[in-house]
């Protein structure tokens, strides 16, 4: 049977991984290529790279890094950040990305997901959504979680899947950084509405949080950044622990 996946996320700004890192023994602790090598050896099932630069120079640097990673790391690579057009899809796919994650670009241009799914296939299109509770309702937030779009998150996500998103990253702003577990209430609500793979993001602080996540129906992957970067949770021991809990893991 297919395994559950553990996915480290690397936020890249001006060619460097941002968010706290604490890697001993690496020549450059914030070099994305070094970190990708480290995670590949550590047993990550997939890597997600987010380009959080705004400048053209930063973008060029990012695609250069992506190409370098894709030349030596042969696991699935998902790329997000600044994906607004089919040309952006093309740019990162040519550099070795396997899947492309859209967020604000899909909010600004609702035609982006169907067009990309048509051209590259559903399996290539990942819809990433930042969700926050407002008056007890799940709402879609934009601009890195700063702006309430006024859209109902569950409706938005369901529509995105109908339009051709083959996978979802659900990032809970409410649990992000709290390190007290994934937002299972939100994730269950999403799983009840769609049948594509769900990647949970935001809130993991310890290995038990991942075990709890995978006990919930419809959860395929757990994504985190700083807890992996700081080695608060290490990937191989995490996967061994999850396997000992009866969860299928690639080891």
């Amino acid at each position: 049977m297919i395994t559950k996946r553990i996915i480290p996320c690397l936020d890249v700004k001006n060619g460097r991984v941002v968010k706290g890192t604490n890697f001993e023994g690496l020549r450059d602790m914030a070099d994305p290529v070094e970190m990708a090598r480290f995670y590949n050896t550590a047993g990550a099932d997939e890597l997600v790279f987010y380009d959080i630069t705004a400048s053209a120079e930063g973008r060029t640097l990012f695609t250069d890094i992506l190409t370098r990673v894709a030349r030596e790391i042969f696991i699935p690579l998902t790329v997000g950040g600044g994906i607004n057009t089919l040309e952006d899809f093309d740019r990162v796919l040519k550099c070795g990305a396997d899947k492309v994650s859209v967020n604000s670009g899909a909010i600004r241009n609702p035609g982006l997901i169907p067009a990309a799914a048509q051209k590259y296939g559903d399996q290539c299109v990942v819809l990433s959504t930042d969700v926050k509770r407002v008056d007890g309702r799940f709402m879609v937030f934009a601009k890195g979680g700063r702006e309430n779009t006024g859209m109902d998150a569950l409706d938005w996500i369901e529509q995105g899947v109908k339009n051709g998103a083959g996978e979802l990253v659900i990032n809970s702003i409410d649990t992000d950084g709290v390190k007290d577990g994934f937002d299972l209430e939100l994730l269950d609500a999403v799983a009840a509405r769609v049948s594509v793979p769900i990647i949970a993001s935001g809130g993991a602080g310890k290995k038990e949080d991942f075990a709890e996540l995978f006990r919930h129906k419809g959860m395929d992957a757990g994504l985190a950044a700083s807890i992996f970067h700081t080695k608060q949770v290490e990937i191989r021991p995490l996967k061994e622990y999850l396997r000992s809990c009866g969860i299928e893991m690639r080891l």
Partner: protein, 202 residues
């Protein structure tokens, strides 16, 4: 040199990168003389069967691929493996290259458990059913990366390895000098690299 057949389908970045990483020289080509000069051939592919087969036929390379496959190892990957079969029922019935006896069928239609997600995407354990030089560097149960909605069936006599996903998914086939993998070795981490390394030594 490995000739990777160029017929306008799919992104070959990872495949060419993984071969280069292993020190195996390769070239994406549609030129008959380069395919003849190669010591082995890879048939890649993503997308729909009928569309890919049409594109392959349009290159005029099919007779050459057939004659070359009698002399040197050929590896079909993902849709490239499916094209090796006799036929597919993906969006109507289509004839394949016919190297491997069997057919390509829809996972969604055949899965007894309809709650399983299609496409079958992700890491799945590969069970070796028959020892083969292509699998000499991997152990039974290693994980490989699949992305597909259709699968090979009725091909027991050619099956070297398979995976379980509510039914038996054909993972690796062989007929003579023709091999095929449903999964992507170029995306299957170290396990995939060892399969490609073995292909380079066949």
């Amino acid at each position: 040199m490995i000739a990777i057949i160029d017929y306008g389908v799919g992104n070959l970045f990872s495949l060419t990168s993984s071969l280069a990483y292993l020190g195996l020289e390769s070239k994406v080509t549609g030129k008959p003389q380069e395919i003849e000069a190669a010591d082995r051939i890879i048939l890649p592919g993503v997308g729909a069967f009928g569309d890919a087969m049409d594109k392959l036929n349009q290159t005029g390379l099919v007779p050459l691929i057939r004659s070359q496959a009698e002399k040197k190892p050929l590896l079909g990957i993902c849709l490239g493996m499916q094209l090796l079969f006799e036929k597919s029922c993906e969006y109507g019935e289509h004839q394949g290259l016919g190297f491997v006896k069997g057919e390509i069928a829809s996972l969604a239609e055949d899965l007894p458990d309809k709650t399983l997600k299609v496409p079958h995407i992700g890491w799945n354990a590969l069970h070796i059913r028959r020892q083969d030089p292509l699998l000499r560097y991997i152990r039974d149960g290693e994980y490989v990366y699949y992305v597909h909605s259709f699968y090979g069936k009725n091909c027991a006599e050619s099956t070297l390895a398979d995976s379980e996903y509510g039914l038996t998914v054909t993972g690796v086939v062989r007929s003579g000098l023709v091999w095929g993998t449903q999964f992507h070795p170029e995306k299957s981490g170290d396990t995939g690299l060892r399969i490609l390394k073995a292909f380079g030594e066949l």
